[in-house]
């Protein structure tokens, strides 16, 4: 097993990884930017090294600085968490070249799955169902996109070939919209990923986002740990996730699980991964993409399968075999995760500032993952995800009630959060009935205000 692991991340996932390391007897190095010197991950790690200024490009995305830290401070493993460098093949390779273990898949698998048109091709060949879409390596010119769209039939979804996180994504309903939005999406992709290559997919109006958790060791043993339903999204960003999917059947789980395992097997994948599908009303499912890292929402799978996915991923990276077999994996009860964002409830704009009062809920079946503490200043520089509240119970109905009770006990003063939105979702009759698709949250969208309001003074509402 590793002796000292560098956590190449911040926030809740850094805390999560440090805790897992502690339980494995592995020392931890936290890295931090100057903006994060008082962050919780810095405080609970065994060592902490400042690696650069506030801007992520100069710190958490700064590969030379991180590798230099690994070499100077003597780590033998690196965990990338999610976001930042977690799906950067160059970083995985830089780690390998520096003789340090990267907790995650091999660089080539990261790159392969990051190239969406290529991943689609491989899956199609392997018999994993994909949505009808652009063939080959994608399209970068409007006329090619127009030809694809005509063949597919509207509506279609424009996506960035190198994409992720909703960037460069647009739904278009006719040729006119395509002409208008394709250049826009392409420009977004270019800005975000430095790539003009796009691809088109048939757009399903009412589909659920259902993803399967994969674990694979270095000896090509692959299992899945059931699914998560992540349909509750706002502009392609997940807000609330649950396991199991409320409309899943045993038979469908077996079928989709087999497809997910096949997706990993066909490329010789190892470590944790998530195979994302769209599940249509008629029970048909389609591969969207594979995420080659731990997900934000891994906790709901941990609760219903009684596994520790972060622990497993570290064990696998250290060369150990899978600790369990497919038939040992059962789904017990239901778990819901509410992502708590520091954001204005109305505008969804980030709401950084000082947390003047913090009290996390607790008790039976309530798990909190957070990097907040009383007096902590949520920095403006990074993702506004400040906490995950996971409720696990025997039944989905009880998990909903438990989530609501815990959200009401949660005190986060000084900044705005999306807790009110979560309460709305959990109170929604369609949500409670399990009847929703990825368009669910549109009903709670308010028209954005004419001009984005100034970010409220963080302490003004403390009175």
């Amino acid at each position: 097993m590793f002796k000292k692991l560098l956590v190449a991340n911040r926030g809740t996932i850094a805390i999560r990884i440090i805790r897992a390391c502690r339980e494995l007897g592995i020392g931890t190095i936290a890295i931090y930017s100057t903006a994060d010197k008082d962050a919780l991950h810095v405080r609970i790690a065994d060592e902490a090294v400042c690696i650069g200024p506030a801007a992520a490009e100069d710190s958490y995305l700064n590969i030379p600085s991180i590798i230099s830290t690994v070499l100077t401070y003597g780590a033998d493993a690196v965990h990338p968490g999610y976001g930042f460098l977690s799906e950067n093949g160059d970083f995985a390779e830089a780690c390998r070249r520096s003789g340090v273990n990267f907790v995650g898949p091999r660089a080539r698998h990261i790159r392969l799955m990051g190239d969406k048109p290529r991943a689609r091709r491989i899956m199609k060949r392997a018999g994993v169902p994909i949505l009808p879409g652009s063939e080959g390596t994608g399209v970068s010119e409007l006329k090619d996109a127009q030809a694809d769209a005509k063949r597919l039939g509207y509506p279609v979804l424009i996506k960035a070939a190198a994409g992720g996180g909703g960037k460069g994504m647009r739904v278009v309903r006719d040729a006119h919209e395509l002409a208008r939005l394709f250049p826009l999406a392409r420009a977004e992709s270019e800005a975000a990923f430095g790539s003009r290559t796009m691809y088109l997919e048939k757009y399903l109006e009412r589909a659920r986002h259902v993803e399967f958790q994969i674990l694979a060791d270095n000896n090509r043993n692959v299992i899945h740990l059931g699914e998560r339903d992540c349909s509750i999204q706002r502009r392609h960003q997940k807000v609330l996730e649950e396991a199991p999917c409320p409309v899943m059947t045993k038979r469908l789980r077996e079928k989709m699980g087999k497809a997910a395992v096949r997706a990993a097997e066909v490329v010789g994948y190892s470590n944790v991964g998530t195979v994302e599908f769209l599940l249509a009303d008629d029970g048909q499912f389609y591969f969207i993409e594979m995420n080659t890292r731990i997900q934000v929402e891994h906790g709901v799978t941990e609760m219903v399968t009684s596994t520790d996915l972060v622990r497993e991923s570290i064990r696998i990276a250290a060369g150990e075999p899978l600790g369990m077999k497919q038939r040992q994996i059962g789904i017990e009860g239901a778990a819901i995760e509410c992502r708590i964002y520091a954001e204005d409830a109305r505008t969804h704009l980030p709401s950084p500032g000082v947390v003047t009062n913090h009290h996390a809920p607790g008790g039976l079946g309530v798990r909190v993952e957070t990097a907040l503490y009383d007096g902590y200043r949520v920095p403006v520089h990074y993702d506004p995800l400040i906490a995950k509240l996971i409720a696990h119970a025997d039944t989905r109905a009880l998990a909903i009630v438990r989530s609501k009770a815990a959200l009401r006990e949660y005190v986060i003063d000084g900044i705005s959060t999306n807790i009110p939105l979560h309460l709305k979702i959990l109170d929604d009759a369609d949500f409670q009935g399990g009847e929703f698709a990825t368009d669910f949250l549109k009903r709670y969208e308010t028209a954005p205000p004419a001009a984005p309001p100034a970010i409220e003074h963080p302490t003004a509402k403390a009175s």
């Binding site: 931090y32 710190s59 100077t72 003047t356």
Partner: protein, 166 residues
């Protein structure tokens, strides 16, 4: 007094434009004065204190200190920033790496304490990813103190030397 969240108070002082804050405790006396009012020759708030208290807040309740390595102890986070005079400046590391005082084990150190240096003169080397990065003086002056040991790991922004300018 109850200094429950002095760090937060300090942040709030800043946020609310307080120029004065007086607390005397054993359950007595507080005085808060906001900017724009007369008595304002207040000294700058001790910013460093904020960090110390922040660090203390989460000080492990058991003796986890023993596990903390030199890295944490010496790092920008762990140590008191050295106190410098008005005509002095800190030479801080622009990168993470290893601090070397000489270009090779058998060379003389670039500088010693007390040495005068001219602008652009090499003061030390930070090795990062096998690259030797020379750190130069950005002003002429005299090296008052060298804050790091040869071969020591260095964080981003960590003070390396104190340079007396002029």
């Amino acid at each position: 007094m109850e200094v429950r969240e002095l760090k937060t108070l300090l942040a709030l002082m800043q946020d609310f434009g307080l120029v004065e804050l007086e607390i005397e405790d054993k359950k007595g006396k507080v005085r808060l004065v906001r900017a724009g009012v007369a008595p304002s020759a207040a000294p700058a708030p001790p910013v460093a204190a904020s960090k110390d208290i922040a660090a203390r807040t989460f000080a492990p309740q058991a003796s986890r200190g023993a596990q903390k390595s030199a890295a944490a102890a010496n790092g920008a986070r762990g140590a008191e920033p050295p106190v410098i005079a008005e005509n002095q400046k800190l030479v801080a590391s622009p990168m993470v790496g290893t601090f070397y005082r000489a270009s090779s084990p058998d060379s003389n150190p670039f500088v010693e304490e007390g040495d005068s240096v001219r602008k652009g003169q090499t003061l030390c080397i930070i090795e990062a990813m096998k690259m030797m990065n020379e750190i130069d003086a950005d002003a002429g002056g005299r090296i008052v103190r060298i804050l790091c040991e040869n071969g020591q790991p260095i964080e981003y922004g960590q003070p390396l030397m104190i340079l007396e300018v002029g």
